[in-house]
Symmetry: C2
Subunit: 661 residues, 2 copies
């Protein structure tokens, strides 16, 4: 154990185990998670070569092997609870992805939710026995977020009672689905349904794409891997071009909509039912943000505690880089954010389960709010985490750039969350739509419920952007409740400003749609402020649940830092709205420096509390024992370029070059 | 040619060729650059496989081949001017790096500058004929920016007239030098010189590391590749562990300092001489920032003009995504920044050459200013570009994540500039040191010259942070000169605040060094504001040189957008300092939206003007002809995973899995 990191741990003022329980959601959860994780890290079958040393094809091979192994072991251990499966897989995957992820995350769940009873009887056993390995093919080369734009067609032929599937253009080629390129023999294909000369919009079809025994592509199917990406290189994201591919009528998923044998189309009863999954996945991503930034902070803070560099006082030994104020300023606000997002993740799970219960009882009233919240928070937390990971990486200097740090892997695997499951800007605008609608309702005198009820208050107070002098500033900047209040007022004001921008555009006689587009910057800003308010509020509320004094104290410091750092970064908003005075903003900057120095002593303990096993972290810089340099040398020696002392390029190019000069 | 992109070009209001000349620094420069570039893109020897399809070892092999080829062809074509070599190599390298880059950038120049005449006679011919392939080994595993911390030792043994080199600890292993791992047979090693029981600090030694004919490592040398990185995977960044390696006394570079045969140490006459190279490299990086963000904008803006998605008005065809205000808001400020940084790059080159002239005549007076400016601007431009590239990538949606977009390559190759040649935070603090020193001189009544002379003005005006109401705001936000003025005042105020923070810390009786560290956040902020001012000023000054009315108009719009966007992002600073009123900040937000919509028509032409050849861009999304989708499909089909229809993992894992379930 590195003596620096040992000393850090000895100096901590709170009990790390108790904090871990809070982060996990209770001591029982921690215990069970660790049991499950130990099933992986004690299992020699998961001792594998670092994928960074492998070629693309070897990486994919390793990932398929691991997927198959996980499936068998999960059954063997009888692990079936989704949360427990999640823990098992997270541990086994480390910083990489699952090759067959979409089979279990999209293919099987879609069969469950959209097959009629007869279809379920046929397809579920095939899928669960991996005779049918499947994926979910929605996005096309030319079409992502906007589903109505998809071009793939499924035309019903009553003569043979078949659908004929086609990719009519290059841009209609299915593109991106995970597992589509090489692994799957079936795909659920989203296509525009045509029957008896009429288009009925998007529907889902089960399309066999490869022979179930030889795995060769079937006639009319052009399928393959879409090529190397920034990350996800163990996954065969694929393309699929359909050329007059015929499937039986029964391969349309018919739980809701139907096509009769004669071609008659039967509409689905409601469109709201598919809403739920989307909301669930986005809520889950909030938790993923928390985990990604927690991993990154663990690496950067542990490394900063064992790395010595430069000098603060001449003649003294080089200090730990964690002693530099600039290093603390890079990392501690992100550490605070990691805690904040963890609690927001817990909050989203709780609210999702509550509302799901309501929905199952036919009460859809809270769904729009949950939809808006999950969209906005998905965007807010992924954007913040995305840039935060890179700050962590760069705070490790040169070594952060080495794959041995794991930070490049964490970044490239995380960054697609800003794009998939709803592109972030689109998500922010969806939340804004809800906020503006709520604002208008409040303005019309309607009493709002839920988290947007503050829009009623702002109506009451007739808040508006105004000069500093016009509003008395009574806020106590050291009081979290006051800070929550000004975050709320900031959101209210920015929602109002966005709504007014739309109003002004409309007065210039442009259409509702153009007015919306011409106010989009303001709308995104309003959503961002709304989400920021929710995060600060959730973190503050969480403190109320914490009994342990030492833990309450350090969490309060983190919450204050999170809130104050957000104010410092957006001080223009708070000044503009008259929510803070100039001296108060100056005071916030000074307080931030004090909070950084207060957190210094607990920094390592606070990342230890995330309890991320070395095997899961897979980072030379972030090792629990702090023995960084020895391991960095060990790791480097395994680099494939070191397989021979003399690389063949010497004989091929360097030696011949001499004779030509 | 894609009709959308053709229409964009037809609508442009200015002449693209004229703009290109301005960006190149004159029509002659454009002509010559194009001639040189055509030598590459017409040369079939440079038609190579996309490195993204290759394994690490193949990538390295390809890069060595290309390096050797470039060396031969440059001699063949008689290209010897550094700027022309730069153009030739940039074109040949595309978005990758040169395997033997350090041989020509560091090894040979160091031999030129630090060999005594006898050494030069021996080593230069060896290096230029590639008998000796060399690198520059400075950083160690445990030591980067802080040179005095380096641990490698070179101990003189008068008995044999040799130096004995050692890596006494794991952390002292040389780490990171490019070309060290596999390519080089010599390294210039920086080591602590010990002679007759005394340490004389860092000196440079030529150390043979591999046998010149077999290329096998020499006795006592442990050398190899440091393993895969985020990028730079075609370069063999290496490690070097020295175990009692003996080199003759003549292998110490002895132009300045010397060790006599008996071990007597002779000091160098001045330390300032090595200063120049550092400043030069940092100035060059400013230009690299401009080129990287120009490339990224070219890709994102061209793609946004051919990509159609979603709907603004219901029922109408999907609009070009460039029509969305949010997309414009992501990209156009970066486009403006690309222009700004290009002009700052030109400015740095000019000022570097002027000051170099002075230095050659023994006048060092302007060197500190140039040093501070190059350090700060290196940090400012690389940080801004770094995050800007990622904004461009994510603005391309899913396809930006594909390696075919080139944006992942551009990012991973660029991001180390934030760390190498002086870590950015350290750079900002160096600039801050100069600013605070200048501030104190101004306060003491000294008249400052050069770019910091505004610190005199602020003394005269007794500026200080104060409430908005306390200072009349006379600035015209639509006038660039006024904006330059408030950027200047913001910098002055933030420098003053940082200086005062140090003062306050000192009053708490802490040491000068701790006071500095406890004010580091303020110091970085002050440097950032100073650099931001310089960029806005240089861009504004550039407009004065532009005669063409159409071009002047569009450049003014870009400059305004750049300045206003900076104000909007940092509105807190301007409000806090009373430099703008609340209504003016609101006005700035509205003006930004107007400027975006004004730039829309010229966006494609403005990136065309960067004149980045398709071969250099190497991006499917950024192609000049806009035919994105067809080429994306072509590119994907070449993915190595598509070499066989059925990947072996099917037979190895998927098929067997079925029988076990």
């Amino acid at each position: 154990m590195n003596p620096d990191i040992t000393r850090e741990r000895e100096n901590a003022t709170f009990d790390v185990g108790t904090m871990t329980n809070i982060l996990d959601g209770g001591p029982e959860k921690t215990k069970r998670r660790r049991e499950i994780e130990s099933l992986v890290f004690k299992d020699p079958d998961f001792d594998e070569e670092d994928p960074n040393f492998l070629s693309r094809s070897e990486r994919y091979d390793q990932a398929v092997r691991k997927s198959a192994q996980m499936i068998l072991k999960l059954r063997e251990f009888g692990i079936a609870d989704p949360e427990e499966i999640y823990h098992y897989k997270s541990m086994a995957k480390g910083n990489q992805n699952e090759a067959l992820g979409l089979h279990s995350v999209m293919f099987i769940p879609t069969l469950y939710s959209q097959c009629d009873p007869q279809q379920a009887k046929k397809w579920l056993p095939l899928a669960e026995s991996f005779q049918a390995v499947g994926t979910y093919a929605q996005t096309e080369m030319g079409h992502g977020t906007h589903l109505r734009g998809l071009e793939t067609t499924a035309t019903y032929d009553p003569a043979t009672q078949e659908f004929v599937l086609n990719s009519p253009t290059v841009s209609s080629i299915k593109w991106w689905p995970g597992g589509l390129g090489k692994s799957s023999n079936h795909a659920i294909v989203l296509a525009q349904l045509h029957s008896i000369g009429k288009c009925h919009g998007l529907h889902a079809f089960i399309v066999p794409i490869r022979d179930m025994s030889t795995h060769e592509p079937l006639p009319g199917i052009v399928v393959g891997d879409i090529g190397p990406k920034f990350g996800f290189n163990e996954v065969d994201n694929g393309f699929l071009k359909l050329e007059n591919v015929r499937i039986p009528r029964e391969n349309m998923l018919m739980k809701y909509a139907k096509v009769e044998p004669d071609g008659t189309y039967v509409k689905p009863p409601s469109a709201k039912l598919t809403y739920g999954t989307m909301v669930f996945v986005r809520s889950m991503i909030v938790g993923e943000s928390a985990r990604a930034i927690a991993k990154s902070c663990t690496i950067a803070i542990r490394y900063s505690s064992v790395r010595h560099q430069s000098e603060i006082r001449p003649g003294e030994p080089e200090p730990q880089i964690l002693d530099y104020q600039t290093q603390q300023y890079k990392l501690f606000p992100l550490l605070a954010m990691a805690y904040a997002f963890t609690f927001v993740g817990q909050y989203m799970t709780k609210i999702y389960h509550r509302i799901s219960g309501d929905i199952n009882q036919g009460d859809f009233s809270e769904l729009p709010e949950l939809h808006a919240l999950s969209a906005g928070l998905k965007a807010f937390t992924t954007w913040e985490t995305n840039s935060g990971i890179e700050v962590c990486r760069m705070s490790c200097g040169g070594h952060g750039y080495s794959r041995s740090s794991a930070l490049p892997d964490i970044y490239v695997e995380f960054t697609p969350t800003c794009t998939y499951e709803g592109e972030n800007t689109v998500m922010m605008l969806q939340t804004a739509r809800y906020l503006v609608k709520s604002y208008r309702q409040a303005k019309a005198g309607q009493q709002l419920s839920g988290i947007v009820s503050y829009l009623n208050e702002s109506q009451d107070r007739r808040l508006q952007p105004q000069a500093v002098s016009a509003r008395p500033t009574v806020v106590d900047i050291n009081d979290l409740t006051s800070l929550v209040e000004i975050y709320k007022l900031r959101a209210a004001i920015l929602v109002e400003m966005a709504a007014k921008s739309i109003q002004q555009e409309l007065q210039r006689r442009i259409s509702q749609e153009d007015a919306w587009n011409n106010s989009a910057i303001d709308l995104v800003r309003a959503s961002d402020a709304h989400c920021h308010y929710v995060v600060v509020k959730v973190f503050t509320d969480k403190l109320g649940e914490v009994g342990d004094t030492a833990i309450h104290s350090v969490l309060s410091t983190l919450a204050l830092l999170y809130a104050m750092n957000g104010i410092a970064k957006n001080s223009g908003d708070f000044l503009q709205a008259g929510l803070l005075s100039v001296p108060q903003v100056l005071q916030v900057s000074i307080r931030i420096k004090e909070l950084l120095s207060k957190l210094r002593i607990n920094a390592v303990a606070l990342v230890d509390a995330f309890d991320i096993h070395d095997k899961k972290l897979n980072s030379v810089l972030g090792r629990y024992d702090g023995n960084v340099y020895e391991q960095l040398f060990e790791w480097a020696r395994r680099s494939p370029l070191n397989a021979t002392e003399v690389h063949e390029s010497f004989h091929k190019y360097l030696k011949p070059l001499r004779s030509k000069l």
